[in-house]
Amino acid sequence: MLSYEGGVSWRGRRLRIVVLMLCSLLAAGGVAADAGDSFSINGFGTLGAVRTTTDDVEFVRDLSQARGATDHWTAKTDSVLGLQANWQVNPQWQAVAQVLSRYRYDRTFRPEMAWAFVKYDPSPNISLRAGRLGTEFFMLADSRWVGYSILTVRPPGDYFWHLPFYSIHGADAALALPLGEGVLRGKVFYGLSRGNIPLAREQWDIRRSPMAGTYLEYQWGGLQVRASYANIRFRNDLPLASVLAREKGVVLPAVAADYLKTRGTRTHYYSLGMVYDKGPFQAQLMLNHIDQGTNALSDSNAGYLLLGYRLGEVTPFVGYSRVRSRNIANPSLGNAAADAVATYVIEDSRAEQSTVFAGARWDVARNVAIKAQWDGIRGESSSLFPYRKDERARWGGRMDVFSVSMDFIF
């Protein structure tokens, strides 16, 4: 049974709404089944364990997680369970709801409605969706938690961890156009973001921040190439004053607060992705550039290359990823104390590291895969942004990460 603390909290109510919606979908499906429509429930999950070789920083899957892995094994980082209901009302109309339970910003596995939307296809190659939707900020970004669908234990961190955004309340439209022997596909989306990003013991509330994006891709045989762009305009400031007061006992000067504001600033995300997938061979090359509108976060360039080759039921893979901060702000606020605080905050958004990773996926049974992976992270001691609970004085920028997981779909 799903439970919550503190009486009828907002979260509790929200959860009840989720359960009610699922139940009504189920009921609707039961009725609809007679009319020849199709209703299905599917799920996916991962049981994962991960440890690193340091306790100077905590390793997270992405910045939506409040705590991470250290030199003790933890199942929190990668374990997930998702349940999805699909109701195909008729060939044009479909309703989808997905409930997801994974370790998140509030340090719980509280299930949440990951998506809930209605899909309408006015013609076979046009698809319109509205409701709570996953966002494809970067290629594969909306299937990050479906471990069974990917080769590695988790999407390469240097590329994906600065993407704590998962869904919007909004709409998207996708159009596919056969071109030559391939298919050209484009999509646009707009909506208000959801969720919180943890910052020490506080939360950065990014709810209702407007987000918009688009991509264009061409898929021909085993090759898929995509260019995408998205932006978000933050509605709230980072909770810097309270974090600094609580963690460091430092007062945030007003001039620094203004310099570091995120409210009303817009961040741009550009990416280029290429996937080659033919026979036993698969390769992915992805590049991104993030252009931050705020001084508090530094711009960055990141990319990864992943190569895998299937041998029977086992697919060994190797990869390389890296991320580098760009245009790090140099505050000069006419006040030494303010400069020091601002510099401290800006330093926290630096990412300067490369990762070599290798592992194998073993398709051990139908719809079940077991994976093992090693990540060798080699970075600067200034590379703090990817982690949680950093001990700046001790952190040297290097660690190894060992992961095992079992992914399944049903």
């Binding site: 899909k119 190659n125 698809s127 299937s143 026979g279 895969a369």
Partner: protein
């Protein structure tokens, strides 16, 4: 003295068995769909849901088989060189991002022929001998 006869029978059965198990696979469409032939990439685009229309605008409705049917594994191996785990991984990504649903799964290639014959946009894969006058062969899968 029965030995040569038994030997001959064993060889004969082996041939017959091999013949059924490795009968050529073909892609069939509804005879009234207006589609006469397709290329490998066009077949891939339809079966992987990338394109949901035939060249003439008719909505394509692909049908698939259950994992247990060995014809399914053979079809995807011949078409894209992929194992079923990879095909299922692909569909898990499509389904759980809410992009699209996987094609309808039927119990046998006999059912596929019947389904394709009954649906104007139907497209499926069967062993060549099963393709009768109700359907049209648009692509032959070669090794």
């Amino acid at each position: 003295m029965f030995r040569p006869l038994i030997k001959a029978l064993i060889i004969l059965f082996a041939f017959l068995g091999a013949g059924v198990a490795s009968a050529e696979l073909v892609v069939i469409v509804n005879a009234r769909s207006g589609v006469a032939a397709m290329t490998r990439n066009e077949v891939i685009n339809i079966f992987f849901g990338r394109n949901r229309q035939f060249f003439n605008g008719v909505e394509a409705r692909p049908v698939d088989l259950e994992d247990e049917d060995p014809v399914r594994a053979r079809f995807y191996r011949l078409l894209v060189g992929k194992e079923l785990s990879e095909i299922n991984a692909y569909w898990s990504r499509q389904v759980f991002t809410g992009r699209m649903q996987a094609p309808l799964r039927l119990g046998s290639t006999e059912e596929i022929v019947r389904w394709v014959a009954a649906n104007p946009g139907g497209i499926g894969f069967v062993e060549l001998p099963r393709a009768d006058a109700r359907v049209r062969v648009v692509y032959e899968l070669r090794r």
